[in-house]
Amino acid sequence: MNEIGGAPLFFLEFGDIVIYFSPFTITLFLLALVFSVFVLVSRPERQIDIAFGADAFYAKVISLSELKFRRFMSIACGLACMGAMVTGDLFDFTLFVSLVGICNVGIVAAVKSRHVQNAAYQYGLVALAGTVPMFAAAAMVAATTGTLSMLELAEGTIQVPLAARALLVLGVMGEGMAPFYAAKAEMFRAPGAPYVIMCSLSSLLIFLRVAEVILVL
């Protein structure tokens, strides 16, 4: 059995879907947890525009409902990240990743700026297109190996087709990794500091996790 992040310390069984905590996944899980708590307790920034050539500046007003909505989306994104970090089932992993993708869209879509909304729309299209290779990859793994559990696949007795692995990576990239990340950078123009951090943090976490998944398969 090839182990990347150390031997699993303990398992949490939900029927066929077994969540496992190895030193690697537990680190990522804690990171996501810390940031979710951080988002929950922190107060949002107030963006201030300075008018050039004059001594004036004006603060952008963010309505309370918008604030609540974006905080809710950030926390959902954090929870989705936590799930994606520790799940031990391939299809479950793809579902969690697409949940992260839609939450990221939600964090910025509430902002009332046409530029930001256009970026959110383009990113949402990529995220939706990314589910196609992801689900296809999970289905191909199920059909060619007869299982979806990462723990079974890590035994190394059955070879996962290379095409399925590549499709999985491509799909996860579509949900918010470089180079398709650029649209997200554009979304950062949206005001509200602690919430947009969740966007970039989720990409980082998912990048690390998908590397482990690919190496384990």
Partner: protein
């Protein structure tokens, strides 16, 4: 510099989707080239058709309230797997006794192989899935309510 050029193309987010679509198209070609793939015969939750059964195409056996055999990944993790499949509500029992073409209706009514998979053995999938539904519809509803008044 080529890197500068690439980063300039990428920084315009209108180019992101065409780029991703092109990557997916290339990946589809690679998959097509690698094609004949062996189908693993020993699948989880296999399908089988019992000729003449009123529960077709979903007859997975088992008299009511005894455990049917379900080929799941970790049978030891779901001790009640197989009960749900064997169970018929009074209404489905009525349907199964008097009609022979309602198998799909019966299996979708509480108690059936799909409920077994979706709620019991692979329940976490189904937890995540309504959550995606919830988030997406929340976004749509929020924008619908607030998007208009500016």
């Amino acid at each position: 510099m080529i890197i500068q050029k690439i980063s300039r193309i990428l920084s315009n987010f209108d180019n992101i989707l065409p780029l991703f679509a092109a990557a997916c198209a290339v990946m589809s070609i690679i998959t097509l080239i690698s094609l004949p793939l062996a189908y693993h015969e020993d699948q989880l939750y296999p399908k089988r058709i019992v000729p003449g059964s009123t529960l077709n195409p979903y007859d997975r056996g088992g008299p009511p309230f005894t455990q049917a055999e379900i080929h799941s990944q970790y049978p030891e993790n779901s001790p009640t797997a197989g009960y749900v499949t064997a169970y018929l509500t009074p209404f489905s029992l009525f349907l199964s006794e008097y009609t022979s073409y309602m198998g799909t209706t019966i299996v979708a009514h509480p108690g059936g192989i799909l409920d077994e998979i979706l709620y019991n053995t692979r329940g976490l999938d189904t937890v995540v899935e309504p959550t995606i539904l919830f988030i997406a519809f929340a976004i749509a509803a929020y924008i619908f309510r607030k998007g208009g008044d500016e």
